[in-house]
Symmetry: D2
Subunit: 305 residues, 4 copies
């Protein structure tokens, strides 16, 4: 983890934030509440107006003008690329030495391409995807995984720590994405494994709370069992206890698995469980579970009552 550095009280007016979806809006709220003034843009005007205390702009370019830090938090790599490099892209609109921080989850190779182009145009670029989900964004406890130059990561770290509690510098450009995908790959697999196990135990007559308490002090324990248990009623305040609403949608974990498979393919790394897990989530999507939290695998395996 990076060492703490003293914060330089820079003028907060030079932060731009593009993309105020479920994650971005919550991240901006934390920036604002901790003293940053932020210029924002979202293609959906209501999204931008949902956050208090920001300056709403009419284009990414307008938001980014004069900013030192330009954050993007967007659905996929094509949109990030278009926002930065498109006909009305930010890089064409501003000329100063801005630092771009892309917190979207995109292909590592796309991050590397963007970093290269940014550099050729006199800009600096970090990939800085997050883990922690909507809950972590709301609470300001996200983990940032950062790829790029060390000094750039140091410079933006105080701002990141207003939105999260951990900042990991992973290596060169793209490594933030790689770390994110590696983590979510395990998560996707472990959640299904946990669902299979708990479903089996319950169908064989075990109480899911008791079974969970055993697993959580044994070799089967993981974040999926001890923090985000998939069985309704075992833990409060997790999506499984709220009809699998909110949380980390099936379509989002499936998206990350597709990215992981492409990255693994480029490196010749086999992903047998990753691949079949991906297809299981795709099967859930085909059967109407797209917007449910990914722990809904439990309900799917449980079957009709």
């Amino acid at each position: 983890m990076l060492q703490e550095v003293s914060y330089d009280h820079r003028n907060a007016s030079n932060v731009a934030f593009i993309g105020l979806g479920q994650m971005g809006a919550r991240m901006v709220k934390n920036l604002v509440s901790k003293g940053e003034k932020v210029k924002v843009f979202d293609v959906v005007p209501q999204a931008a107006s949902s956050v208090q205390g920001v300056t709403i702009c009419n284009s990414p370019e307008e938001a980014a003008k004069d900013a030192c830090f330009v954050f993007t938090m967007l659905p996929n790599g094509h949109i990030v690329k278009d926002t930065l490099l498109g006909d009305k892209g930010i890089m064409k609109g501003i000329s100063n030495n801005a630092l771009f921080i892309d917190s979207s989850t995109i292909e590592p190779q796309q991050s590397q391409e963007l970093g290269k182009i940014a550099k050729e145009n006199g800009f600096r670029f970090l990939d800085a995807p997050v883990s922690g989900g909507v809950t972590g964004a709301e609470a300001g406890t996200l983990t940032f995984m950062v790829g790029g130059e060390d000094k750039d990561a140091e410079e933006v770290k105080p701002v990141l720590l207003k939105m999260g509690k951990n900042v990991f510098k992973c290596g060169g450009t793209g490594t933030g994405q790689i770390a994110k995908l590696c983590n979510n790959l395990i998560l996707a697999i472990t959640m299904i494994g946990t669902c299979e196990s708990l479903n089996m135990g319950v169908k064989l007559g075990m109480d899911p709370k008791l079974l969970t308490s055993i697993i959580n002090v044994s070799t089967g324990r993981s974040w999926s069992s001890d923090t985000y248990n998939p069985v309704p009623g075992v833990m409060p305040n997790v999506p499984s206890s709220n009809q699998y609403k909110g949380g980390f949608g099936v379509s989002l974990i499936a998206k990350d698995l597709a990215l992981a498979e492409n990255a693994a393919l480029s490196a010749g790394a086999p992903l047998p469980l990753g691949a079949i897990s991906h297809q299981l989530y795709r099967t859930l999507i085909a059967n109407g579970y797209s917007d449910k939290d990914f722990a809904v695998v439990y309900e799917f395996l449980q079957g009709k009552k």
Copy 2:
């Protein structure tokens, strides 16, 4: 977890222990070092003679005679059944109100059958499989998962705590096995997922220690990443850092997965990742990895250099 009960200082001479393999021998050592006198039997005479301070017997029956607690720690359910009920089985040789504690990992249904027959013959029976492996057996830190009557579990608990640190009462006969299989099912899956992820990350240029440290504070963390990391050199004192020697053999996790699949089948619980994980371990066995620690999946996915 069971409440602590006062220990009744019973005569230590009435403990019998059948089966002194990798696990059993270490469990008996802890019993002896904590004041129990134990009569032992193993089909391999050298196995029994490897433990100091015990009385070596020539048959299970001889060991069990006069014992209050008769432990079995044997390779599979058929051997347990034969030991208890065969022509020279213990149940035919002794007449007192002994309590049988089977710590082998066997099919839940076999435990239930044994429990039923024991009861019909005036004996009491607990299934009490363990987690923690050879390391936990050596250190006396095993977890016991116990199925059967509560009062029987209470009675033997002080003895169990000389070999382990956790005792979970799971429910009726067989539920100890169910809990064990549920735990190991997750373990088997999560380990492969962790290997896939770390192999991918390393092949994409990440340092495995750094990647592990990120995962361990993120949603991908599990016992397989934070306690038993599969990448050589990331953690000391785990099999992966010792050429995958010792530890939990591929053939043993494969055995547990076969038991889990049978149990799941009987309950109509699908195990997609469990089943494919089982076959991946079987593929490793076919390719010569049978006796290696199960984290050797990492080496297998990594491929030839």
Copy 3:
């Protein structure tokens, strides 16, 4: 394939047939229509009475008495064993040199055990499971896969050919079951693969008939594409064109896969696709597709409209 032998016009009254389910009833109809007189038994009285021209008996023993050939066509190995060897089992009730022919699909090891016990009791035993399904049973075009003594197989062959068109002698006792399971393992996998492919093609805009016609002259062709196509409307007179009614039920193919996995496990043969296919069919069962034809995987992958 066995050479044709001349048929000895034995007295048809000495054929017994135990088990008149979907398959058995149709097989008996063919025996009767081709001149055999058959004594039958089924635990469900209506089942026996559904077939014309037979002698209905009150017990397996009554049916088997005086029979030269005793056929069993039963749901699983336990029932076969009980029918032959149980308290009221046939082998206890008759004393002549009957030839038992078990056409049930059961574990190869169970067949071997039954064959051994039969021999010890002075009887002869063949395992003779079939392929061809209800359609083949109705049409008298089943394939018999026979394990046991060559001379026994020759003796019963003329009778088998009244119910089927192919008789394969596979080897010693149990090899009929092995061949059956090997065949159905491929079938189970290939059907899912064909469903995945055709679903993908259709979703990408291809006409399923055209796509099928291409596959059927290419390297992807199989019985699942050219004879039993899973897409509604591509072929007439197959279950997929009749709402997946009739045919080979999901629960039956799942049963065969469980048997195949046990057999493979005993031989150390990995079944990665077999295992995951098994679990996919189990997932269908959990979601209400148990009684549909196994080609319904297509509908499942297609998802909700």
Copy 4:
């Protein structure tokens, strides 16, 4: 299938063929032996010079100049795109109304993009991937799956039939690729299933020839069992009987599965067996089997002796 049309005896000098690898060289040989004069180009000069009776050119542009039909048979979509549209691409170098026929296996979406660009530049474009492999290319018995305009397909059909025996018009641009990927997806899965089954049967004591002969008249039959059997010695003249040399390389089927998964992903079609099959082939690649025929899965499952 397209109706036969009368062949118009066009001047054979206007055929160009770019890419003379294992497939392309054999296809050109057939064109030449059946009267076409062909101008060829390959980035590896020796490749071009291996074929007798052709005009070897120094660039794709030189080969394509004046050609009516310009064939490309190249390793992937990026190379096809570069060949047609790159700085020295053919479309910049020639101005007539050439018909491009791309027989490479590439992403359907890439074909659609190429088709669109070709049209915008006044050219016509067909995707026409083949099945049949090196053997089919050598024998002139390939199957062409053609996407694009019907009249263009008719125009080139007589030339295609000099290299193959079947020409299927599949639909609009890209549908040739879709049909190809659908076929190879089934092939990849069925081959593994067949290997699992035959390995299991052999390990259980069956003769592989006998087992194959049973499967080939039963519901498990497929091209993988009856034409390209994976067990050494069962069939002559297939790679499995020649140490898995030649044939369809593991790396090539893996490539096709990656393309299929991307296409399926775009359409929301789950590919559970396709995905795990892909990863099994990737595991073989990681373990040194990259250049062996894909039926080598049999040897891999068989394990060390």
